[in-house]
């Protein structure tokens, strides 16, 4: 038998990842790698029109083309395809259009599927798309949210009678959690009002989505590049009326998601239906262009904020009025994304009066839905930008203003004006550490010098003192927000006769390193070697229950379920150990993988018990021959990671070019299971948030066509576009879970966008600039300096904001 590890030695250690061995050698199982006997290939025909009635589809030529087995249109699927699910009806009167997987009579965004071909090979399927003729009758496009909610606006879905899907309101006076915002504004010594634009982004996971459906077994098996195999299985059953137990969903290796694969997609439904119809396995893999145009987008909000304060900097009220672009349909959690932000505008600050109102608007664009942070980056951006604006108005240092208003470390637990109870945090500690690493005072001095001598390159310092809510649980809170599911997670432990351990988790990883982190946790808990633990996930057959991975929930919820299952294993093993050592269970203590009889040297290892249970020759009466256990964990609260991010940006006032000179991120994510993985999550998150500030935007032309439909135009940053970061941590354990952990997956993305934009504005504020619209391209920054105006939209609003393939500086590719 293997020797047991000392307890506590794995958690906290920078273990290299178990996952890597396959990934660095190309031994991968991406869905598109899958090949099954008799497998056919599908290609989709997508609408080039943003808004049109389909008057005729002629598929006769395509049907005759070589290798083609089937050509289907929306009319063929109308009776079987159902309507794609939206699991988050935010209000009782929310307007929600029918959402066919394949358009039947009308298309509502460019990229919507209108027909599909199944053929022997992918090439033959793609060729046959040319043989399909669709006649469209164009309808007016709806592209601008503010215009869309006017009375005489053209409608995306005329039968709904409006482009406004729902309006969701929170008011602290009504809720009894605070005062009236209007009174606060009315009696304020200072009022600052700003409108920010959260541009539309594309998650742009590197692995294009792919689906294989095998209908030949008793269960129909779907492999899909999804974050949510369990939710997908349930939703397929509910959408298509197939019995749930006849469907198995597998998420094999999944190449990133960032919320973009938190979806039940039209392509999944269509592939399922066609495989069933043909009785043969069918594969569909999207191209990158299809992915950018039709997989859901993120952000896209207009945010109007009004903050009321006293001259001494005390914030007295905050009013938030949002318009959020849903796109053409409500996908899985589309309407709820901006609402998640409602709880985060008050951020780390003690704000006595708060009002939030959000109107969700339909346009003829690609549907939006979760993208890394989902609602929280938008909120954090707006409030952190606002704090800088208020500081400027008051002539205060922006860090001082924040400190004046934030919750002090001794005030935790603290219940906010938006009803959440923050369990723990220490904003002073994170800020002090960040200032030190950043040399805040030194950089402020340099900034003053450069300003004084009128340097053409100006220095700006951007601050973001953020928090976020993650875990997306407890279930009762999700219920109170009308979310369609709970927030629990499932875990199980199987003790194999040789003492090896199989861990089952309902949380489905796609790059986060669950296999390594869960192994560390279980190794410590059961006192078995790290290498002896195998983590199984992402298959509804091996991992029967689960709610998957999103919202930084895996560790704070998923790992807790595993931990709780391990506790049960130990409890089940105890009477057996007592029986084996002929003592009372009460005399036993478990540590380092062994039950020891207190006060003696006698012990029995958990592996020996696993073997004894397998043989089952001599067990105590009434004890089942198994020490396996499972558990479902529903946390009592969210977790609230926080941190202080500081960014120094150099802005060339002659060219508008922005250079990030240094970036310090000090995050408090509670206890850390694996510092290597945490650091990696922060790095990746930072780049996605910085990319929003500087590069990325999904741009539509006036006909509703996506102009940034390839990686040549949609500027996912390359290594050459990014600096190195200085990252560090402070540690305030969460009090709401046994490990004291908080989420980390979204923190970097949430924090970094405002830090960068604040730095840019800070660099050129003396030129009369108080905002630069994102992405802050050289053109926009330059324009802002020229006009000294508030917003520099207009020139630079073309695809890539003038930074695309036209501009070598901006990372021409």
């Amino acid at each position: 038998m293997t020797t047991a590890a000392e307890p506590g030695q794995e958690v906290g250690k920078g273990r290299l990842r178990k996952e890597d061995a396959r990934l660095i050698t190309g031994r991968t199982r991406w869905t598109d790698n899958m090949s099954l006997p008799g497998m056919l290939h599908m290609a989709m025909l997508r609408s080039p029109m943003a808004h049109a009635r389909i008057t005729n589809i002629d598929t006769s030529e395509a049907r005759q083309m070589p290798g083609v087995l089937a050509v289907v249109t929306g009319a063929d699927l109308a009776d079987s395809q159902g309507s794609l699910p939206c699991a988050w009806p935010i209000t009782e009167d929310m307007k929600s259009p029918d959402a066919p997987s394949m358009a039947v009579n009308q298309v509502n965004f460019a990229g919507e599927v209108v027909a599909a071909v199944v053929a022997r090979s992918a090439a033959e399927a793609a060729d046959a798309l040319e043989g399909i003729d669709v006649d469209y009758d164009e309808l007016p496009v709806v592209l601008d949210m503010a215009e869309a909610i006017k009375d005489d606006a053209d409608l995306v879905h005329p039968d709904l009678g409006t482009n406004s899907s729902a309006t969701w309101i929170f008011d602290s006076a009504e809720a009894g959690t605070g005062g009236s915002v209007d009174e606060a504004i009315g009696s304020a010594e200072v009022v600052v009002e700003r409108t920010f634009r959260q541009q539309r982004l594309i998650p742009a996971f590197m692995e294009p989505r792919s689906i294989v459906v095998d209908p030949t077994g008793e269960q129909v098996t779907m492999w899909s590049a999804t974050q949510v195999p369990h939710i997908l299985r349930l939703m397929l059953a509910m959408t298509l009326g197939v019995p749930e137990h006849k469907v198995r969903v597998i998420a094999p290796d999944v190449g990133g998601g960032f919320g973009g694969k938190l979806q039940v997609t039209p392509e999944e439904v269509i592939t399922f239906l066609l495989a069933q119809k043909l009785g043969r396995p069918v594969k569909y893999t999207e191209t990158r262009s299809e992915s950018l145009a039709s997989a859901h987008h993120g952000r896209d909000q207009l945010q109007k904020l009004t903050v009321a304060a006293r001259r001494d900097g005390t914030v007295t009220g905050l009013k938030v009025e949002l318009l959020a672009d849903m796109g053409a349909y409500l996908r899985l959690v589309t309407p709820g994304v901006p609402i998640l932000g409602a709880f985060m505008y008050n951020a780390i600050y003690k704000i006595p009066a708060y009002h939030f109102a959000c109107t969700n608007v339909f346009t003829t664009k690609t549907p939006t839905d979760a993208y890394r942070g989902a609602g929280r980056p938008e909120a954090t951006f707006a409030i952190e930008r606002m704090m800088d604006e208020l500081a400027n108005e008051l002539g205060m240092d922006p860090l001082e203003l924040r400190e004046k208003n934030w919750i002090k470390h001794e005030e935790f637990p603290y219940t906010t004006v938006s009803t959440l109870t923050y369990d723990s945090g220490n904003y002073e500690a994170a800020t002090a550490r960040a200032k030190e690493l950043f040399d805040y005072d030194g950089l402020r001095r340099e900034q003053a010098e450069r300003r004084q001598r009128g340097d053409s390159v100006q220095l700006g310092i951007g601050i973001s003192t953020f928090t976020e809510m993650c875990g997306l649980a407890p279930s009762r809170v999700l219920g109170s927000l009308s979310y369609g599911a709970g927030g629990w997670e499932y875990g199980a432990i199987r003790m194999l006769p040789t003492g090896k351990v199989e861990v089952i988790t309902g949380s489905s990883a796609h790059g986060q390193g669950h296999e390594t982190a869960w192994s560390q946790i279980v190794a410590d808990k059961l006192g078995v070697p790290f290498e002896d633990v195998e983590v199984l996930h992402g298959d509804t057959q091996s991992s029967p229950r689960g709610l998957d991975t999103y919202g930084s929930r895996s560790l704070t919820v998923g790992a807790m379920a595993v931990l709780s299952a391990a506790d049960k294993v130990i409890e089940k093993a105890k009477p057996i150990a007592a029986h084996m050592m002929e003592c009372s269970p009460d005399d036993l203590e478990f540590s380092g993988g062994k039950f020891t009889v207190r006060g003696t040297g006698t012990d029995t290892g958990i592996a020996d018990i696993a073997l004894a249970v397998f043989a089952a020759h001599d067990l105590p009466d009434g004890v089942e021959p198994s020490i396996d256990a499972d558990a479902t964990f529903d946390p009592e609260n969210f977790s609230f990671p926080h941190g202080t991010h500081l960014c120094a940006a150099e802005v060339d006032t002659e060219t508008g070019q922005v250079r990030l000179r240094s970036y310090v991120a000090v995050d408090d994510v509670g206890k850390v299971v694996n510092p290597l993985i945490v650091e990696g999550q922060v790095h990746g998150g930072l780049v996605q948030g910085i990319a929003q500030a500087l590069f990325e935007e999904a741009v539509y032309d006036e006909s509703g066509t996506l102009m940034t439909g390839t990686f040549a135009d949609y500027l996912v940053p390359s290594a050459a576009d990014m600096p190195s970061f200085t990252t560090d941590r402070t540690e305030t354990p969460s009090t709401t879970n046994a490990l004291g952990v908080k989420g980390v997956g979204e923190a970097g993305t949430i924090a970094s966008t405002p830090a960068v934009v604040n730095a840019i504005v800070d660099a050129i504020r003396h030129k009369g600039v108080d905002d630069v619209e994102m992405p802050c391209t050289p053109m926009r920054v330059w324009q802002a300096i020229q006009s000294g105006a508030q917003s520099a939209a207009g020139p630079g609003a073309e695809p890539g904001g003038g930074m695309g393939s036209l501009d070598a500086e901006g990372g021409a590719r």
Binding site: I24, T25, G256, E679, H683, R813
Partner: protein
Amino acid sequence: MRITVTVDGTTYLDEVEPRTLLVQYLRERLGKVGTVVGCDTSNCGACTVHLDGHSVKSCAVLAVQADGCEVTTIEGLARDGQLHPVQRAFHDNHALQCGFCTPGMIMQSIDLLAENSDPDEQAVREGIEGNLCRCTGYQNIVRAVRDAAHEMRPGAGPEAERMNEAEMGTQAGVRRS
């Protein structure tokens, strides 16, 4: 058209359509699915392989152009169970998360190190500019490549792909954790 290609040490003789891309040939005909496709405009680098020792985006090369050539993919790097130093460095530096960009990133990094055996940070960043990663933020990739540079002797590239076991043994001994 008939082509003869050596891929990861095995020679293949095949009939291919002129329009078949090298990456399609590798994945669909040879089952070399370790090399992946991330885009349709040759912008992402996920499909990077070595063609006669130099990195190419295999979605931008026709299979027929590889006629008579030697191709190395991510699957052909490890020898006798020993990882290539760049593969190991990616593992040691946590330079991958989902791993989708990783094969291309590793192949490109090897090529970069063949041209510049001791690149500074900026040179690494520019050298892998054509390879996108959405997960890692690049910092650990840069670290991995520089780490590998220090562990490899000058003139990696094709030679490193033929590294003998004694050399590999010393590489394998370098671990962090």
